[in-house]
């Protein structure tokens, strides 16, 4: 245990003393912060920026918009629309004057022939090709729709969403299933999949470069005369894992701080309901997934003669983690308890990402996360032990070109 601690501490100190590490650790949030500030400054008033800010900070204070109703269709503004949000003007001249004075952000003109053409003009001071309507376009659309239907709000609601399906699942009880009608909730599994993929890959890659470098420095044989391969590998996995986790926390924390510094409060939109257990399972699957992939990367680093060759094969090793990315926004949402989603989340090599994607979507039977974690833990133990044992063969294979077949054979102890 003492030697594991010595290796662990050495790895942490070595990594923290590298300028390249700090460049990546601080550079990424710095660049993100600068981009964030630049975009915020340039597009402070643009609809895009406000839409983005709404995602992260909830609805911002809306500036009123106006309308000129030349077809006399809008007889009243529905009660559900806050007062003062939509202002009526008798003609375009009055609306333009209000726009020039900054009383309104933009205004709509409902032409006389609206019922024939269905066309509406939207007048605003700036040109934003990405924006399809104003801040209140949804509100004005709603007001127009209600008035077109004779002021019947309920009828208007039904026209908007005629199919209010109540989903009754006969699957075993679990957490609430995903709301497939919500686009934000729809993309949540994708975001979680991506986040976990990068967290695990980033941390595991540290081990690949570490072992490759030690091999290139020809230190491995000296180390193996002082520690066992298992002690060496365990110390490295733990040390680099802690640094990787710290780096991820720093990145996420910096993002959070930047949000707050820019005057925005980080709150997830109400449409996204992430289960409370997600954080706990997140830590579990990160640690186990990291242990598996860091070991595989260590093996790759031991087999390959240099980092360049090792990097060429990384894709093959990471493939099981990449596969769930293709299914994250489709299978995990549309059929989260189906064969593919369940299979991927129970298969140990894809479980760290796939199970997290399913958990973020919700509706996972309670017994599946622990089973998946158990299978993953078992795999982690086997792989860590197998890889540690193969550090002996590393010296033997030193200098040879890396072959995927050799890699796979050594993993099952056949080479």
């Amino acid at each position: 245990m003492k030697k594991i601690r010595i290796v662990l501490i050495n790895e942490i100190i070595t990594l923290l003393s590298r300028p390249s590490f700090w460049l990546a650790t601080l550079g990424i949030p710095l660049v993100a912060g600068l981009l964030f500030a630049a975009v915020g400054t340039l597009n402070m008033n643009s609809a895009t920026s406000q839409a983005v800010s709404q995602i992260f900070s909830g609805p911002a204070e809306m500036r009123p918009e106006g309308y000129v109703d030349l077809s006399a269709l809008v007889r009243s503004i529905p009660e559900s629309i806050p007062a003062g949000t939509l202002l009526s003007f008798p003609d375009e001249k009055a609306a333009r004057a209000a726009l020039a004075q900054g009383q309104i952000a933009a205004f709509y003109i409902v032409p006389k022939d609206y019922l024939q053409t269905g066309k509406i003009l939207y007048i605003r001071p700036d040109l934003n090709p990405l924006a399809s309507g104003g801040d209140q376009s949804t509100l004005f659309r709603w007001a127009l729709q209600v008035n077109l239907l004779g002021g019947e709000m309920l009828l208007s609601s039904l026209v908007n969403g005629p199919l209010a399906v109540q989903d009754v699942s006969l699957a075993p009880a679990g957490e609430a299933g995903p709301d497939q009608s919500n686009p934000l909730a729809f993309w949540t599994p994708y975001a979680v999949t991506l986040l976990f993929y990068f967290l695990i890959m980033g941390s595991a890659s540290l081990l690949l470069s570490n072992i490759s470098k030690e091999k290139e420095n020809r230190v491995i044989e000296i180390l193996l005369n002082s520690v066992t391969p298992t002690q060496l590998l365990t110390g490295k996995i733990m040390g680099l894992g802690l640094v990787g986790l710290g780096q991820a926390i720093l990145w996420l924390g910096t993002g959070f701080v930047l949000m707050n510094l820019s005057g925005r409060v980080f709150t997830l939109p109400s449409e996204i309901h992430l289960p409370g257990s997600l954080v706990v399972w997140g830590v579990v699957f990160f640690i186990l997934g990291y242990a598996v992939y860091a070991s595989l990367m260590a093996r790759l680093g031991a087999l390959a003669p240099n980092l360049r060759e090792a990097s060429q094969v990384t894709f093959v090793i990471m493939l099981p983690l990449i596969i769930p990315l293709f299914f994250s926004s489709s299978v995990f949402m549309t059929d989260p308890n189906g064969l593919i989603a369940t299979g991927l989340s129970l298969f140990p090599l894809s479980a760290p990402v796939a199970m997290m994607a399913r958990l973020s979507a919700g509706g996972v039977p309670w017994w599946q996360p622990p089973l998946s974690a158990l299978l993953l833990a078992g795999t982690a133990v086997i792989i860590v032990r197998a890889v540690a044992g193969m550090f002996r063969a590393q010296a033997l294979l030193s200098g040879q070109g890396i072959k995927v077949r050799t890699y796979l054979l050594t993993l099952i102890g056949k080479a």
Binding site: V7, N10, I222, S226, V227, A395, L396
Partner: protein, 300 residues
Amino acid sequence: MSIVEITNISKSFGPVKAVDDVSFNIEQGELFGLLGPNGAGKTTAIRCMLDIFKPDTGSVAILGGAMNEAKKDHIGYMPEDRGLYQDITLERCLNYLGSLKGLSPAQVKQSSEIFLKRFDLTAHKTKKVKELSKGMQQKAQIIATLLHKPDLLIVDEPFSGLDPLNTQLVKDLLREQHQQGVTIILCSHQMNLVEELCERIVLIDHGRTVLYGSLDKIRRRFSGHAVSVQTRDTLPSLPRVERIETINGSFKLHLAPGSQPQEVLRLLVEQNINLDSFKISVPTLDEIFIRVVKNEGEGL
């Protein structure tokens, strides 16, 4: 008492038999030479000895039994294919390697200061290893091997990359360790140094033991039937001498079967030859090495 007992070990890598039925013993406090041409199987034999590789057959006993974790702290190993962490300071590198051998930070500091001073590296201890010259890195490597005062020292080509001054320094250090009772296994191609330092050797070629035993006995075994004579006179043809060879100003007289060196000496004196020296001709280890490796298997 044997510190290392290698008994009939063999190790193959695929179709290549790197070590083939090799056996030798190393006694406590001995300075032992492990020799062989490139690719002979020396490194594989050492790796088997240190439990880095498991031999396919045969057994290894080291420091009185099978290798275990505690024993590693009593062994200093400097492999031929060696290196140090390049991106950290020499001081930190020694600290790390010393602590892995079970030394406390204070012990590492004390021990490394002594060796750094002796190898004239104190002024360089805060430099990154990659900033040191090849010779300095070589010396640093030797320090890392000795920091924990090992009982068994295995050094593979310790003189490579060193200038004559530092070669002498390492030679003195090995002699000093030997005098202090440390068992040393020296692998080297520099036969003159092995000859100078070692008492016994094993020569491996193509994975097999081709020579093993006391250096003195081996030399005598290969001395043949000749005497070496140094004189300013011209040597006449002599009875009982088959042929005369001139080597660097001295003469090597190959005796006829059944002749004795004393007889030749008497004949030389009788013929009034002024002798500067007269000795039994003994081949150098270099000569033996070349002869054995060239003629391996020819009745040795």
